[in-house]
Symmetry: C2
């Protein structure tokens, strides 16, 4: 989860493979939006302290799907984040209250490139 | 690119690894929105015909980042889609008109799981 209150307008740049991407696609309930927002903001700060964290992209179609993609240099960082006590507690609250459904894909990036208008 | 006019509310389900995810994070210009929408709709139909195409998730924060994640069973499908003439032409128009910037990450999914509220 990330700080969803301010949409980033610059995506995480193309990085040198290999690295890892954690895709989190979710649909929210309409319950406890303030609790969700506070938790997302807090976690967004915490994940940045994980060794190997490289960046995060987030987009949310109003009333529809949200997608976050977090990038890590290795699986050890992903595992450390997965076991973080605050993160674990937030995931449990998420399943209780905030998420209608979600899917997570953990993937090793093999190729990356970017375009920036000049 | 996908049919961005109707936001999906059910993400592509967790699949059996290995498979591939193509993450496309983009920021649009304000030029030619109708041309963009028509092209995105057309390509969304075409990509579904690629052998090994498994699904696509899309989210767009209004005025901010858009993220699409397309899933394929193998790299051959991604390569076929990359070389598709209509797709190539659309990408060229995208760089000319529609995109301020974008980043593509092609990644091999090693783990996947999902949650659905019961």
């Amino acid at each position: 989860m990330s700080d969803h209150t301010v949409a980033p307008v610059v995506p995480t740049p193309a990085l040198e493979p290999p690295y890892y991407a954690v895709v989190f696609a979710s649909v929210r309930t309409d319950r406890d939006p303030d609790g969700y927002t506070g938790s997302a903001r807090r976690l967004s700060g915490l994940v940045r302290r994980i060794p190997g964290f490289l960046g995060e992209d987030f987009a949310h179609t109003p009333g529809g799907l949200a997608i976050s993609v977090a990038y890590f240099g290795d699986l050890a960082g992903i595992e450390e984040w997965r076991r973080d006590p605050e993160h674990l507690a937030a995931k449990e609250r998420g399943r209780e209250r905030w998420y209608e459904r979600y899917v997570i894909h953990i993937a090793r990036v093999e190729h990356s490139h970017g375009f920036t208008r000049t």
